[in-house]
Amino acid sequence: MLLVAARAAGGGAPPLNVVTLNSVLTEVAREVGADAVHVTGLVRPGVDPHTFSPTPADIRTLADADLVLASGLSIEAYVDRLVAGSVFGGRVVRVGDRVPLVLSLPGRGGSGERDPHWWHSISNVIAAAEIVRGELARLRPESAADFARNAARFQGRLAQLQSWAAREVDRLPPGRRLLVTSHDAFGYLAHDYGFEVHPVNGLSTESEADAKHLASLVDLIRRQKVRSVFVESSANPRLVENLLQETGARMGGRLYADGLGAAGSGAEDYVSMYRSNIATIVDGLSLP
């Protein structure tokens, strides 16, 4: 049926079958590919990619794909196992491994562990659109011009977003750019806008806090008079709630850390997700 629909839409060939493992990449692929691709997002918006694992139906979808777009930077450990089991018929691109800005994690003994949340730097998403354009053009050279036009339009919107975000953050004095969040997912955003990040838990949603660390956060919030503390859409806010009670800081609101928000959340697409995060942070930290 899809085939018929695509033919009717005017294209000669059936749409390329693209499967993504990250809700941001789902959007990138739809924007760049438009009518020439059929995109299936396996990790649906609102789902934590740290804990996602594919069902048999998902694996069949992956096996049938012409192109699989993964976040990369080791966030999807199962992809390596699926590649080793030669599940994929088509090509697998770990987009995060090819974006220009990859941060390593501070304070991990220089282990060289990389921060997988690359899409919180808009420049990386602009680059991701370019990577996806290249992959699609390779698979379907006759539509290369369309892909280039679509990518340029999407990248233009991202550039606008970039200057809007920079203007918003400029309203915050540098002394107030302290981001206390439930897990360490905003290193890229912090890097781009000069924030200092202090996560309650570690990088993954699964690592656990210790008392020493929590006490140092309480001291920091009191000393620097941090106005607001933020939680992520997919994390349990218990520890953060204790932190608020202890310090009198406010709950600054929910940030989208691990991908786009679910339908109806007001963060269903990348631009609104990013705007929501920036607005929440700036509003929360600029409180008197």
Binding site: T205, E208, K212
Partner: protein, 288 residues
């Protein structure tokens, strides 16, 4: 003097430390008591099994009522009770022994939990909601812990004789007209209640540690039931206090730090207990 103050008292200037310690102490009392019966009745692995069986209850509660603490508690409680009472019933009505019945039911429940979660529309990290963190204890968590622990201590005081008889000689107890079955079911209910409360407020590692390690350690030192109960509770309290301080000063995850302290007491007891320790057995041959 001031160094000692910094070491022992200073950490409790933080409210999250006071709450964490208090919840560990409160549930340490009931855990120490229940643990003794579990160890003597050879049900030591029940806690471990139970922790897995809570999953479908919590998932169903989440699906119906969202992440309210009360809903998740009752969801877990119902699933736990079905497992515990179901296996008690199976072992009485069929040829299957209680441990095998327990093992079969818990894995059945665990599997239904996994199936249910995989079918949920969005996958918030449920395990995160199922298992708390001793540093994230809220006021309502403390109230819950106090109620459950109070009920347990009350039951031990009122039904001490029945519990003693049922623990050491269930056959005799039943032969002489004791309500063995009833005592056993009551005891299972208390255990499930305590474990669910402990897991939700303090996390699975700490909950299981508090319910087992002090009791096994006490078993290595005591011959009389009453002194075993007292020793077990004292060890639970001491381990919780030292453990949370270790977590504060050394920066180790709090639940794990308390369990490691309880574990050190256990290993010491296993080696050096004057009558039942490994060293004595090796030097004198056979059990004393």
């Amino acid at each position: 003097m001031s160094a000692l103050h910094d070491l022992l008292v200073g950490p409790f200037a933080y409210e999250f430390m006071r709450r964490g310690l208090l919840s560990a102490l409160i549930l340490g009392v009931s855990g120490g008591l229940l643990g003794c019966v579990l160890v003597l009745r050879r049900l030591a692995l029940m806690g471990d099994a139970l922790s897995h069986s809570l999953l479908p209850g919590v998932a169903a509660a989440w699906l119906l009522f969202g992440t309210s603490t009360a809903a998740l508690f009752f969801g877990g409680l119902i699933a736990g009770l079905l497992t515990a009472l179901g296996s008690a019933l199976l072992s009485r009505l069929t040829r299957v022994k209680e441990d095998a019945a327990f093992g079969s039911l818990f894995i059945l429940f665990f599997a239904s939990g996994v199936a249910l979660i995989s079918a949920l529309p969005t996958r918030v990290n449920l395990v995160d909601f199922l298992f708390g963190n001793v540093l994230g204890v809220s006021t309502s968590d403390l109230r819950l812990a106090l109620a459950v622990s109070g009920l347990t201590v009350g039951a031990f005081v009122v039904f001490y004789r029945s519990i003693l008889l049922e623990t050491f000689d269930p056959v005799f107890n039943r032969a002489t007209g004791g309500h063995g079955g009833l005592v056993h079911l009551g005891f299972l209910t208390l255990t499930v209640l305590n474990l669910v409360a402990a897991m939700q407020t303090m996390g699975i590692v700490l909950a299981l540690g508090l319910f087992l390690l002090p009791a096994v350690s006490a078993y290595l030192w005591c011959d009389r039931f009453a002194s075993m109960l007292l020793t077990s509770v004292s060890m639970a309290l001491a381990g919780s206090f030292v453990g949370i301080l270790v977590s504060f000063h050394a920066g180790v995850a709090s639940g794990a730090a308390i369990v490691l302290c309880l574990g050190a007491i256990f290993l010491f007891s296993a080696l050096f207990s004057p009558r039942y320790g490994a060293i004595r057995t090796l030097r004198h041959g056979g059990h004393g």
